[in-house]
Amino acid sequence: MPTSVPLGGGRMMAKHGTEPNAPAAGSPVERTYLEAIRDAMAEEMERDPNVFLLGEDIGAFGGAFKVTDGLHARFGDSRVIDTPISEAGIVGAAAGAAHMGMRPIVELQFIDFISCAYDMLTNYVATARYRAFLPCPMVVRGPSGGYVRGGPFHSQNPEAAFLHTPGLKIVYPATAADAKGLMKAAIRDEDCVLFFEHKYLYRRIKEIMPVGDHVVPIGKARVAREGTDVSIVTYAATVWRALEAAEQLAAEDGISVEVIDLRSLLPLDDDAIVATVRKTNKLLIVHEDTRTGGIAGEITARVNETCFEWLDAPILRVTAADVPLPYSPPLEDYVLPQTSDIVRAVRRLAAY
C-alpha cells in the first residue's frame, strides 16, 4: 500500500551531465529550487529595468513561500508591487504593462488561484498577439502541486487547462538549475509563459548551480537518466519519483530505464520524445495531474502519429486518479502517483 512519501527524506542532487550548458569554471554556488527562481528574477531585474513583480504579499513579506524574499528591499516599491487579492486584475494589468514594453512577472500565491484569472489568460492574453498584434511578454508563476497535505485548493496541477490554449507557453521545472534557466528564458520570451513551480521541491532540491547567464531554452526536454529498456516521460516532482523507480528497477530487476524530464509542456519537445521511443521502444508517461485530459493523452497521440512502428508495447500512463486532491494523508497518497506505481508499470512494460 503506497502510504509513504518516498522523497520525504534528504535532499536530492540533480544530474546535469546531459545538459547543453553544464557548469562552467568559477566558484560553485549551491541553491535550492526556490532560491534559483529568486536568483533568476533578481538577475533579470538587474539586467532589464522593464522587469517588475506583481503579486499578493510579495513585497516586504517576501511572499507566502518567501520566493521574493529580499527583492522588495533591493528593488523597491515600484518594482516589487503588493497587490490586492485580485488575480484577474493582476494578470490583466500585467498584460497591459506588457503591451507597453514592460516585462511583468505575476506571482499567484498558489497556482490553484490561476483559475480566478482563467478568463484573462485564455481570452485576453493568449489571443493578444494573434488577434491584435499586441505582444504579451509576461510570466505568470506560482507554487503548484501536491504531496504536501494541502487539500483540494492548495495542491493543484492545472497545466492541462492551459495546454489546450494556443498562445500560451507552459514550463514546469524539476531541478534548481532548470528552475533558474527556464525562469530567465520565460522573462525574455516575447509571449506569456506560465511558470509552474513545484512547492514540494522548493526546499528539498538543492544543487550546485551553473555559473554565468544560465538560460534553458523553452521547448527542450532533458534526459534525466539514460537507459535502454523502458522510457519514462515525465516532468516536475514525478521526475524524482521516476528516477527513484529507475534506481530500484536497475537494482532489483536489471531493467535499464531512461527518464525524460520534459521541462516545457507547451511547446512539447517532440524530438526528445520520439528519440527515446526509438531507443527503448517502450513508453511510460507519468504525471501528477489527473488522468483524463492530462498531458499524457496528448503525448500518446503524438507518439502514435509519429513513431507507432517503433513501439514494442502499448503506451502506459501513471497519473493521479480522477478526483479532486484530498487532504488526509492516506487519501492523498492513494490519489497521487507513487514510486511503487511507476515500478509496477515499468515491470509490466518490460515483461510485455
Binding site: 480566478c116 483540494p152 485548493f153 494523508p329 511503487s340
Partner: protein
C-alpha cells in the same frame, strides 16, 4: 427605506437612548454568547497544542480577538437561515451547531471527519439540519453562492435569510463584486459581513482598497451599509440582527462592516513580522472581545466568578472528551479517495497499478488481453 450609508454604530452612544435588538436577549442567551466565544478560543488553544504535537495535519487558522464578530453575528440567525463562514468564523459555525469533535477530526484529517478526510480545517458544512455551507480557499466565491442560496429563498417564498462572511482582502475579488451586485439587483435576503481585521495575510487594508471604509462600497451597489465595533458582541448582534430583519422583510442586501483586529498570523506558521508588536499588544490588552464582554456581564447581568468558572469547566470537559474521541478516530481508508466525485457512479474505478486494489485490477483488466480490446 434607508439608502444612505449610516454612520458607524457606537454602542455606548446608542445604549440607553434607543431600543436595541439585544435588549430582548435573555440572561441565558447572553451567557450563551459568552460560552460560544469562550468555546471558540479554548478549542483553538487545544488545536494549537495538537498542531505543535503534529497531530493537526495541515495549517491552523486562528480567530483570536475576533470571536465576538463571528459569534454575535451568527447568533442573529434562526436555525433555518443559512450561514456561510470564512476561515476566521469558527465561532459562527459553533453557534450554528458545529461540534468541537467535528472540528478536531477535520483538522486531524480523520476518516470520520465531516468531509471524511477530503477537506481541511473548518472547510465543512451541513445543509441538512444546521444550515451552514463549507467554504473553499478561493476568496470571494461564497458571495455569489450565497446570492444563489438566498435567491432560492426568494423564489420559493421561504422565510429564510442568508449570511456570508468575507474578509477585507476578499472584497478585492471579482467574485465579491459580481456576487454582491447580483444579490443587490435581485434584492436577495442576504447579509454580507465584511470582517475588517486590518490584514489580509501580510497586506494592510490601505493596500487592499483606496476606500476609506468598506461600507462606502455599499453606496455603489445601492444597498444599506452599516459599520459596527466587531469586538463588542452585543453591538455585532444588534447590527446583524437589524440587517437580518431587513432581509426578512424583503428589503434586500445589507453590507455590514465589523471593525476588529487579527491578533494572530494568517495561519499558525506566520510570524506576523509585518504587524507592529505594540499594535497587537494594544488590542490584546484594551480590546479583547471576551474580556470586554465579561465586564459587561458582571456589571449588567451580575454574572459571578462561580458562573464563569462553571462555564469554563464545562467547556474544558467538552474539549477534553472531544479530543480523546478525535484522537481515537481512524484515518480514512486509502480507497475512500475514489468515492463521491459523482452521484452516479458513486465510486470511480481504481487505476490498475495500485497494489492495494489487486481484486479491482483483476476485475478491470485481464493480463492476457492487456493492451488490446476484444470486447
Amino acid at each position: 427605506m434607508a439608502r444612505a450609508v449610516k454612520t458607524p454604530t457606537r454602542s455606548k452612544a446608542v445604549r440607553g437612548t434607543t431600543v436595541r435588538p439585544s435588549d430582548a436577549l435573555s440572561r441565558e442567551q447572553r451567557l450563551a454568547l459568552y460560552r460560544y466565544m469562550r468555546l471558540t478560543r479554548t478549542l483553538e488553544e487545544r488545536l494549537v497544542a495538537l498542531y505543535r504535537q503534529t497531530k493537526v495535519v495541515g495549517g491552523l487558522f486562528r480567530s483570536l480577538g475576533q470571536e465576538a464578530d463571528a459569534v454575535g453575528s451568527a447568533f442573529a440567525l434562526e436555525q433555518r437561515d443559512v450561514l456561510s463562514p470564512l476561515i476566521r468564523n469558527l465561532g459562527a459555525m459553533l453557534v450554528k451547531g458545529a461540534t468541537p469533535l467535528e472540528v478536531l477530526r477535520q483538522y486531524m484529517a480523520k476518516g470520520n471527519s465531516p468531509t471524511r478526510g477530503r477537506e481541511l480545517n473548518i472547510h465543512f458544512g451541513d445543509t441538512d439540519t444546521r444550515n451552514f455551507i463549507g467554504q473553499i480557499s478561493h476568496l470571494g466565491d461564497m458571495v455569489p453562492v450565497m446570492a444563489g442560496v438566498t435567491l432560492s429563498f426568494k423564489l420559493r417564498g421561504e422565510d429564510r435569510v442568508g449570511l456570508v462572511y468575507i474578509g477585507d482582502g476578499a472584497t478585492s475579488t471579482g467574485a465579491f463584486h459580481e456576487g454582491i451586485n447580483f444579490a443587490a439587483v435581485q434584492r436577495c435576503p442576504l447579509v454580507v459581513i465584511v470582517e475588517n481585521n486590518g490584514y489580509a495575510y501580510s497586506t494592510p487594508t490601505h493596500k487592499q482598497t483606496a476606500a476609506k471604509q468598506f461600507i462606502d462600497k455599499a453606496i455603489g451597489y445601492g444597498i444599506v451599509g452599516v459599520q459596527a465595533d466587531g469586538n463588542d458582541v452585543l453591538a455585532v448582534y444588534d447590527v446583524t440582527r437589524e440587517a437580518v430583519d431587513r432581509a426578512r422583510r424583503g428589503e434586500g442586501v445589507t453590507l455590514v462592516e465589523l471593525m476588529t483586529y487579527r491578533r494572530k498570523g494568517h495561519a499558525e506558521h506566520d510570524n506576523q513580522s509585518y504587524q507592529p508588536v505594540d499594535e497587537i499588544e494594544r488590542w490584546a490588552e484594551a480590546n479583547d472581545p471576551i474580556d470586554r464582554y465579561m465586564r459587561v456581564l458582571r456589571a449588567e447581568q451580575g454574572v459571578t466568578d462561580e458562573e464563569f468558572a462553571a462555564i469554563h469547566a464545562e467547556i474544558a470537559q467538552t474539549i477534553e472528551s472531544a479530543t480523546d474521541a478525535a484522537e481515537a478516530s481512524p484515518m480514512p481508508e486509502p480507497t475512500d479517495a475514489l468515492v463521491g466525485v459523482y452521484a452516479d457512479p458513486p465510486i470511480i474505478p481504481p487505476l490498475w497499478f495500485r497494489e492495494s486494489v489487486r481484486s479491482a485490477v483483476d476485475a478491470n483488466e485481464r493480463a492476457a488481453g492487456w493492451g488490446t480490446y476484444d470486447g
